[in-house]
Symmetry: C2
């Protein structure tokens, strides 16, 4: 069976000027991949007819599926629809279903009068199949040309996601006979990409050609993913399971979780399996660790709340840190994070606590306590472990690195102190 | 003067499978743009020799500059360097400066033994200029071919950023005569893209061809950006100032800030200008609002801390919400967010407070209080304003929308109650 190949085209000057980060392509690539479609290229072009047509020509050259997002809004810089209409040799006609949906949205949901500019969103090329967009105004459009499928979707992420999941993937599965693609992913922490590569070299070299290993490093963690493809699903799954088991043993020392999950998700799972709760007492991370925990559905099962004590006065009043400890050691110290963790355990009445204090930059560093220095404490009522980190570079990265290392310290504490 | 055109190639299977979101391209595009380089296309391809060469050929066809990131790591799936070496007709040679830098990093910074695989990162094509990477192991490489510049950079964001800022931009400015590009950006809230377009249509239509307006909608806010290009800097800046002043008047009702800043940055600026402080009492946003505030340098000037009261028990113990109020109205109610805000003002001793409580989903909704329902309170010791929101769709988006609307409610309160 031939592999089905796709390319993704994102349209919009905002992508080329860098004011918007393209998260759509990653979601589309993930969903296509799960369905057995290999994404070969992703291209971003501006709101220019010439560039859109060049991309349509080039991206359809040796692919089966071309997914296009963006440029379908109601404003003058959105030119995708007329360009597609011309490209596929159609003309714009009013679509009654889309018009009714627009009227419903404006009357019942947005509750504001519909204007001409919005109504034009109900005009679609007469050579496409309309994909209804339950979440927004611009419909998806499905074109077929010379055995290839072209799908145009709005660029608003939650609208695009609804269309991909509910319309595009099911229709692609009906249109193409897909080979089977499957993945196995695990997450490691505390070890560099090259050390892992060295450790698993013999195993990696003996992998058959249809299994491929990828290293995905991110903020001090490395995700390892084996991807396989085959026409025989059962055979492939067995093969992947065997190789994945070997890999897990090779990296067991640094293994966080043996699935495609993040560190906060691994911590969630660990706490739920033990029916325990946690809290955070955050200074320098300013609520970011709490956010990582609460961004995951079901957080209320394992998390009660946090004290963000950015100011020292709050460390004293809300976390019962002793003014003498602060005075003697400074806010960024082993003693202060230990008292913050103990205070959080007491005031939040949880099983575990995580406390952090550090200097994220760009200002606030001293020769003794430079930017990037962080103290972390993790533990329960019986025991606390502490660790000092020294990160470098910019504020965003220091906040991210601190959160990652802190969450991993707590995870290890829980694993090692059952 | 001719416009200088660039294309960005990002390399890595992880981009095509969607496990990594490409933030590098946005940064590179921004920096090139500021320097007067127009980015025409962005392409992502896999770790495949054939695809990399296709991209190098296609992207250099009608551009002056090709920036390549990724695929320079020490592992087997990173093939960019040998492919570039072959493409430009060179051979890999050990570079003594890079080798010394690697030794320094491993001995002094990482403090672990260097292995063969890492040392190979000091091998570079003999046909390139090496760009030193102060922040990591893989150096940048600068190639010139037929009047075009090709630059290869590591994909690790903070390493790539250092190289772009310190090496690539200054060298490009020496190599090309750049036309002048300039932008004016403002942020609006509380109004849709099409209403703005309708409101400013006459003004937009009279803009000269070398000034272009872009609408950048994001989470209930719309950023408007005018971009202009010219060989005459003074003339262009004057022209942009004149048009920007007109635009500001047209959208004054919804204007958050008249610069390229985010809502949290606008709130920072407002609080600093009045020498005031704020706090947050967050339930459903779980620390995300505090994070948005504290991610900005200098947050300690305007922010003291927060209580994240995910659990109702914490709302009572840490925020002095009355158990009777909770019992009678439920956690997601005007009464409870008002008491949360009052409790936060008292315990954090700030000038302003922002409190949120809602149901982010996917679970936890009821017919009376569906997923996406949120109450927000904002104010000071004398006065509180409250607002109810009903968002739809997924948890991530609901958290983001809640934070945006809450921050805007507080911003408006401060502006209207000086």
């Amino acid at each position: 069976m031939e592999r089905i190949i796709a390319s993704i085209i994102t349209i919009g000057d905002e992508l080329l000027i860098g004011q918007v980060i393209d998260t759509n392509s990653a979601f589309i690539a993930q969903e296509l991949n799960k369905a057995g479609v290999w994404v070969k290229r992703r291209v971003a072009v501006g709101d220019s007819k010439e560039e859109i047509i060049r991309a349509l020509n080039e991206e359809s050259r040796d692919t089966n599926i071309i997914i296009i997002t963006g440029g379908l809004g109601p404003t003058a810089d959105d030119i995708t629809k007329p360009v597609l209409c011309e490209y596929f040799g159609g003309r714009l006609v009013m679509n009654e279903d889309v018009r009714k949906h627009l009227m419903y949205l404006f009357e019942q949901v947005f509750r504001r009068p519909i204007i001409e500019r919005n109504l034009k969103q109900a005009e679609v090329p007469d050579v496409c199949t309309v994909l209804p967009n339950a979440r927004g105004t611009a419909p998806g459009m499905w074109f077929e040309k010379e055995g290839k499928v072209f799908v145009s979707l709005p660029g608003v992420p939650h609208e695009m996601k609804g269309l991909i999941t509910n319309e595009v993937i099911p229709r692609l599965q009906q249109t193409f006979a897909m080979p089977f693609i499957s993945h196995r992913t695990l997450l490691t922490a505390g070890i560099g990409e090259s050390y892992i590569a060295e450790t698993i070299r013999d195993w990696e070299e003996q992998l058959p050609a249809h299994l491929k290993l990828a290293y995905l490093p991110n903020y001090g963690m490395v995700r390892l993913r084996i991807t396989g493809w085959s026409t025989n699903k059962t055979h492939l799954e067995n093969e992947l399971n065997t190789e994945f088991d070997k890999l897990k043993i090779l990296v067991r020392e640094w293994l966080v979780i043996d699935e495609d999950a993040t560190l906060p998700m691994a911590l969630h799972k660990l706490l739920r399996s033990r029916n325990k709760t946690m809290t955070t007492a955050e200074s320098c991370t300013g609520g970011y660790i709490a956010h990582l925990i609460t961004a995951i559905p079901g957080a209320s099962n394992i998390y009660k709340g946090s004290i963000i004590s950015y100011d020292n006065a709050i460390k004293i009043s809300a976390l019962q840190v002793s003014p003498a400890t602060l005075q003697k050691n400074g806010a960024v110290s082993e003693e202060v994070v230990s008292e913050m963790a103990a205070g959080a355990l007491a005031s939040m009445n949880t099983d575990y606590a995580l406390a952090v204090s550090g200097i994220m930059g760009p200002d606030g560093g001293t020769p003794e306590k430079p930017v990037g220095m962080v103290w972390v404490a993790a533990g329960d009522r019986n025991k606390l472990v502490t660790q000092k980190f020294q990160f470098r570079f910019d504020r965003d990265r220091n906040i991210e690195m601190t959160a990652t290392q802190a969450l991993n310290l707590l995870r290890k504490f829980i694993v090692e102190n059952p």
